[in-house]
């Protein structure tokens, strides 16, 4: 079972207490945006085979959304972080780099 660390509760949480919310860091477009921008925001996905930044919600816990960096090809979890970010923070990119180096 997948276990993620909820950055709000500061606890490791089982997958059964979580809800997956898909790709993170999507740029929400406003009402003035054209159809192509809405398509990109609503439907197009990176769907990366490898490092994937994604949204999770601690539904059966604090109820809050947070973000995770996870590898979809190996199921390795690099870390979780606040949803109030527009890009992965330094400690996450560092964890990914370290993991990739140790594999190379």
């Amino acid at each position: 079972m997948l276990i993620l660390h909820c950055p709000y509760c500061q606890r490791d949480v089982d997958e059964t207490d979580l809800h997956a919310g898909g790709e993170a860091h999507l740029k929400r477009v406003g009402p003035e945006a054209d159809a192509a921008a809405f398509e990109q925001y609503l439907f197009m996905r990176r769907n990366t085979k490898g490092v994937h930044f994604e949204r999770w919600r601690h539904v059966y816990g604090c109820g809050k959304w947070f973000l995770a960096a996870r590898n979809t090809a190996t199921l390795q979890v690099y870390g979780t972080y606040s949803a109030q970010t527009t890009e992965p923070p330094a400690h996450i990119t560092e964890a990914i780099r370290a993991a990739q180096e140790s594999q190379a």
Binding site: L42, M44, R46, N47, R70, T72, L75
Partner: protein, 414 residues
């Protein structure tokens, strides 16, 4: 190709079976093909088959990174039906179902198509209304289905408990000519026929890059060298986004794990396929006697062909009330496949931003039933640039808001 027949079996019986040929050839890649199909699953092989059969295009290679049929084609629970709601779906799924009827004869290969009947249970008032609506839509689309009451459900499937208490069976959408087929045989039968037409099926050949020149495809880079082509068909299911990225575009697809399991073999007790969408589970009995069980997808993006155990548990738990017999069964094995899910739960058969590159994906949890129809339509799209069966399934439909919404018809994975 030597034809398979009762006579051939008898003849070989008299000479220690020394006269059988290999079903398909093993080829080295040539330097160039008219069409390269990436992915030797059912859809890729069927595409190649109909390119040859319907359009006389036989300078074709099918490239497969693993082994033939080792993707979702060899991992699915083989439900075949065409009782969808929207007209474009009915057209392609019913074309497909009807091709299954004669596939064994057409391919001279026994795919064990068994039109034993498929029922989708209505266990809430909402589902009753939904399936009645689908039955009406189907009669306009020339797809034979009917809404049946609980007594008829019990008659068709006596092992079912129709009285609840939590989810009593209120009726079902019944498609008498739906059923199952042998998944591997579908891939093998097409592979044999393609090989017979002179096509190259190249296994253990992973496509690593797509070569283009001035916005047009010129070939692919693979683990067995560069291969040129005029046209490229990407038919790789769960890996569709990975191939698209190689060609420089994105798809409205997410890849997630879908799991299934089978029980120990038991005596024949169920000769129809039953799907219970409210509780998220479905069940049929294989010819070997195993109960074949499936449910909903796992929740998160995944390429590992493994899922979480609690999903299996949920699926079985869901079925126990309606099929008490399941509670006494030992489960034999469990597996997963990576399915390619779109926003409207309908497939993509489409031209792409790269000239000469075509994509067939998004069949998600329910594309086994679609293999022959999808191959038929995809071959036409690749050969002629359009097909009446694929027009509605463009990858650009999401931008235009022209969804083919089957999220209700395909409420559970199958």
């Amino acid at each position: 190709m030597k034809r398979y027949s009762a006579f051939a079996v008898a003849r070989e019986a008299f000479r220690q079976h020394t006269g059988w040929n290999k079903a398909w050839g093993h080829s080295e890649p040539k330097s160039k093909y008219d069409v390269i199909v990436v992915g030797a699953g059912g859809h890729g092989l069927a595409t190649a088959y109909y390119l040859g059969k319907n359009f006389g295009i036989t300078n074709v290679a099918v490239l497969e990174k693993g082994w033939l049929g080792g993707g979702n084609t060899g991992r699915n629970t083989t439900i075949i039906r065409s009782n969808y709601l929207q007209d474009p779906s009915a057209a392609i799924y019913e074309k497909s179902r009807s091709l299954y009827e004669t596939m064994s004869q057409d391919l001279n290969y026994n795919v064990m198509f068994s039109p034993r009947g498929v029922m989708m249970l209505a266990q809430t008032e909402h589902e009753v209304r939904g399936y009645k609506r689908t039955a009406h839509a189907n009669s306009l689309q020339n797809v034979t289905t009917e809404f049946i009451g609980p007594e008829r459900v019990k008659e068709l499937c006596p092992i079912m408990n129709i009285d609840g208490p939590r989810y009593p069976v209120l009726g079902a959408l019944w498609q008498a000519r739906g059923g199952t087929a042998r998944h591997d045989a579908v891939a093998w039968g097409y592979a044999r026929a393609c090989s017979d037409m002179g096509m190259d099926i190249i296994q253990q050949c992973e496509v690593k890059g797509v070569r283009t020149e001035g916005g047009r495809v010129t070939g692919v880079t693979t683990t067995r060298g560069d291969i040129k082509c005029n046209k490229l068909a990407m038919v790789v299911a769960g890996h569709a986004s990975v191939l698209a990225e190689m060609a420089g575009f994105q798809l409205p697809i997410e890849s997630v794990a879908l799991q299934a399991l089978v029980s120990e073999p038991i005596k024949p007790c169920m000769d129809v396929v039953v799907m219970a969408n409210t509780v998220h589970g479905y069940l049929s009995q294989s010819d070997k006697g195993e109960m074949v069980i499936g449910g909903g997808t796992d929740g998160y993006n995944n390429y590992t062909q493994r899922g979480s155990f609690h999903h299996i548990e949920e699926t079985v738990r869901a079925l126990v009330e309606t099929f008490p017999i399941v509670g006494r069964l030992k489960m034999l094995r469990q597996w997963g496949g990576i399915v390619d899910v779109t926003g409207d739960r309908s497939p993509i058969l489409s031209k792409t931003p790269v000239e000469g590159v075509f994509v067939n994906c998004g069949w998600g949890t329910g594309g086994f039933k679609a293999i022959p129809g999808s191959g038929w339509a995809m071959a036409e799209l690749v050969a002629k640039g359009h097909s009446p069966l694929t027009d509605a399934f463009s990858m650009h439909r999401f931008q235009r808001g022209q969804f083919i919404d089957e999220s209700v018809a395909a409420g559970v994975a199958h």
